[in-house]
Amino acid sequence: MEYHNVLTTCPYCGTGCALHLQVLDHQLVGVLPAKNHPISQGGLCIKGWNAHAFVNHKDRLQTPLVRKGGKLVTATWDEALALIAEKLSALKAESGPDSIGVFASAKCTNEENYLIQKFARAVIGTNNVDHCARL
């Protein structure tokens, strides 16, 4: 019998609301807002209140999928990443770096977003960087 709360940041947008994941015996059982957190001050929107719902959802992908002969097939990360690298390199050689664009996300941390723009500019060689929150 073990119950505790894990403080984390809501993954749904760039605001950065804090929330507690309620954990009972290593199982995620719910969300609680974080009252004395400077950003969200105990409040959450409907997405934050349901931020635990996708974690153990049956539809959640557990491994990468690669399309083979028109069908999505389970793949390892090594296989998926090798395929992405191969295709990106081919596209770049064929049509130039500006034929490729990178979409970052407000759900990512600053550090992750820094890395992806660095990857776009320094590795691919394009300024085509955008993200989902620029509606």
Binding site: M1, H4, Q22, L32, N36, H37, G43, L44
Partner: protein, 273 residues
Amino acid sequence: MSERLTALRETIRQILPQVDGVIGLKTGPAGIVAPYLFKPGHPEMLDSLALWPKEPVPDTLKIIQKAYPNARLAIVCRGCEERGVVEMFKHAQVSLENLTLIGLQCVQEEALFCRCAKPYTVHARVTVGSPIAGVPDPLTEAFAAKSQAEKLAFWKEQFQHCIKCYGCRNICPQCFCNVCALEDEKWVETGRLPLPNPSLYHIIRAMHMTAKCVACRECEETCPAGIPLAIHFRLVARDVKEMFHYETGAVIEQKPPQLLTLEEGDYERSGLP
């Protein structure tokens, strides 16, 4: 406040060996407080014991008891949380068997923050701190003094800010229906904005909380739009007291009015079929 914290820590330390766990508050990373189950054999965890901000701990009790119905537990509860546990017991959501209530008396500052009429426990045999008298609720009093038209205008204005996060419903330990009327297709039309009619949403919830709300003000605290929700819950509670002589959390043996069975002759026909 620190004196009360020391006293509470000592009280839990004494109770811990006799139970399977004590529900209280713990300070986590960056000083953020959350409910926690203190376990015997780990008294060092009590170094992080916290008093404030208060949390909806009756719900924590429900979560743990649901998985461990026979566990011997203790719970640190303030007046409102004790009332919450009692009401949830009456609605078969928690068990008082094998449960020790550790009553934590609120200080003036906390009572003023919550505009609380009863910042003290009445059932807990083990208590920490000295009980203080209730404080007035100026917001509710000012609202009650308004005219009908002013009241309507007040809520219309307030409910305009509602972002329909359902936080007031989610955080409420007394909101425990398996199927929630507020999630009905009628109020939440999929794929369309705006979501439910905010006025109807709040009025439906107020009606559903009749004789259940224990005035803990968690809904008001979690509202990202700052709607003073406690006002209508407290006025509904006032009506329930006048009409049914019922106060939530006060008498463990007294059944809430919505659970009463009416016998022939106990009531007069209202004229409705």
